[in-house]
Symmetry: C2
């Protein structure tokens, strides 16, 4: 918190002092998401190139001075962040672009980028002597909250809709979360989480409501920049659900501009699935956001009522970026490409980023000489079912070398 | 390969020159697994404490001079190794021991410790201009080979038995492996893989046959030692399937002893499941290994015909260690404890290590003042089904705050 100057409502720009502990703007309520504003002039004295060079921390906490956390003992958290940034050669070649990097955030402790936000939520809870954190989610936000909280001895209450898949419950159950299953859809789970949080005074880890979460998410951009020696790419591509991640990506680069450590903010390409693309439509047609159905296999970005469209839209626009909408089929194809060409197994929501890049290249929105980074936001192990449906049937074979040779020949496999 | 002196058969001790490219001993065939022998006197000049201190590589390649790889450009591999070593406070307290660490190898790129061996197999294939690697496996060895090979542009042929679960195939399919499904059990899949490998001259990544794999696996021990400032624990606990991992753990500490960097090799506690414990029985009753059924939920260590019992038994004995056999029930309980107390989601085969530690504490084989490290060998996301079966039924709840309050009261939940 040392360099936090104040909070500011993204809607009405009302300022709140850094001692303010409310989550949203008092005037604008839930729509009035707060932005953490820093005193960059003061921060500059500490956060220099030298600061990074001498920093031995291999986690997101190397960026603690650029974040809104008060505590400075991070020794007990899960090891979130500082994930690999891979240079891609094969995929770049097949896409006919010169420079492609893949940031693999699926290697975070619970398997997704959401860990960056959840671990910050946990630290804020500890700061505020709040031992219980709650959210409504069926997916990565929930499991990452449950895992990070378990490590720190905090309790979690997770509100899930009726249709939650049993596999996703397994991770929550295992981490010891109190799971409340609502006889209704996500909207109803969210509504009950909200009233319970207000009633019991729990820490709120609902997407976008808590202003500190974006400050955790932005570290993915800080890492991309640092891992490229502060020479960030021309484009950063990531999928968009509620909008918090891409808002965080923008914020990270914005911080580095303010600190004079990079010269430009990469253009952001936000990607949604055709089956649920309210932010895409709002961007493309420059019209107010309309709620959407959630009809896509990319369930981590299937957010019909995004909670942070404003921050997301602002980020994409300010960066001179664009949005793409891609089909489930294109997403599954992209997932297979990422795995088979780069060895990076990604859940469909992550693969959507590559599908969006492919489309943007076709439409000349991104050109082959531009440097591009894709963010892999979630591990493919989170949702193997999505890929099993795609698999061709594998015939049973006798344990017999001749049969095997014939099989290879018949299939024309050149091995 | 710079410091490799020669290879030696673990059975008859015949020596083979470092230029030997066969996998096993010519006299002893498949049972004659080779051990890579180093010239530690020469290695000592380079591999000093200072060498480690100045090493910026955050992957297993920081140990390349201690390994049997010839190439030295590792920039294109997946980022294997240098996984977190967590100090555990809560679990240590509940087990009533002073010092407990957990090495989380489930955070490797494909989700298991096997990546350490697979990436080495891939580098050896490239060295030998072999573009195809094969193995028989249904589990982590297969997926880790497929992922690491995909990243490096190598082809993989995976022989799986008939009963392979569809979910496990999804990862292989996605990585682009050529999957051959045998109308038979694992033994038959293994037999066909062996004759195909011999016929086509593919690189062999079958457990234990390839002497370089243990050299990859040993890096987990090198990391544990280095992450504890070369003051290794009294005990290292890990589960045992075919025996290669625990043999690798021993080898890593053995290397460091030879280099004068540590003073003692930790005692090794090997853990098997009651449903499949041939190495445990051979150890306990000091009798020759007998094949076993594979009847346990811990499928990554369900190895009825272990390929490397000799190296494993030698390692455990030489370390002054012990073996434990634990029930599936104890394994699932341990998995839940690891997740809920430490936020580390582990597959059943990994959780077996904690179950073994608990049993060893009960039997006073390990005492509360000894420093212990558990290795988490595989990510829980690999096998969520194992945990769903355990879950208590969660009742559906109305979206209503009063109902929710009553529910919490009724359950006696203190939130």
């Amino acid at each position: 918190m040392k360099y936090v100057s104040h909070y500011e409502c993204v809607l009405c720009e009302t300022r709140y002092p850094k001692t303010y502990t409310g989550n949203t703007c008092e005037q604008c309520s839930d729509q009035g998401i707060l932005d953490v504003i820093y005193d960059y002039e003061a921060m500059k004295e500490t956060v220099t190139l030298q600061y990074f060079k001498n920093n031995p921390k291999r986690s997101l906490w190397r960026y603690a001075p650029l974040m809104s956390v008060e505590l400075n003992d991070f020794s007990q958290t899960l090891m979130v962040g500082w994930t690999p940034l891979y240079r891609s050669y094969k995929l770049a070649k097949s896409l006919n672009i010169n420079t492609l990097y893949i940031k693999d955030d699926g290697l975070n402790p619970t398997g997704s980028l959401k860990d960056r936000a959840s671990v910050v939520a946990c630290m804020k809870a500890i700061e505020q002597n709040n031992r219980i954190i709650a959210c409504a989610s069926t997916g990565n936000a929930a499991s990452s909250l449950a895992g990070n909280a378990a490590r720190l001895g905090l309790k979690t209450v997770i509100f899930v809709p009726k249709r939650v898949p049993k596999g996703k419950l397994a991770q929550l159950y295992s981490y010891g979360a109190e799971v409340i299953k609502i006889d209704g859809d996500y909207r109803e789970a969210y509504a009950l989480s909200k009233s319970a949080i207000n009633t019991f005074g729990w820490m709120n880890r609902n997407a976008a409501i808590n202003p500190h979460l974006v400050e955790g998410k932005k570290t993915v951009a800080l890492e991309i920049a640092e891992q490229l020696d502060f020479n960030p790419p021309d484009w950063v591509v990531c999928s968009v659900g509620d909008g918090c991640t891409i808002a965080g990506v923008y914020k990270g680069f914005y911080d580095l501009i303010q600190l004079g450590l990079i010269e430009k903010i990469p253009r952001l390409l936000g990607v949604q699935s055709e089956g649920c693309n309210p932010i895409y439509k709002a961007f493309k047609y420059a019209r107010p956001l309309e709620l959407a159905l959630e009809n896509t296999i990319a369930d981590s970005i299937a957010v019909g009522i995004p909670r942070n469209p404003l921050k997301a839209l602002k980020a994409i626009e300010a960066s001179g970026g664009a949005m793409m909408s891609v089909s489930d089929n294109a997403i599954l194809k992209a997932g297979k490409i990422l795995s088979s060409q780069e060895g990076i197994f990604s859940e469909p929501a992550s693969a959507a980023a590559l599908a969006g890049l492919i489309k943007a290249l076709e439409q000349n929105i991104i050109t082959s000489d531009e440097r591009v980074t894709i963010i892999n936001t979630g591990n493919g192990l989170k949702d193997t079912d999505a890929y099993t449906a795609q698999m061709e049937e594998i015939p049973l074979m006798k344990n017999d070398l001749e049969t095997f040779k014939e099989y290879l020949q018949r299939k024309g496999r050149k091995l």
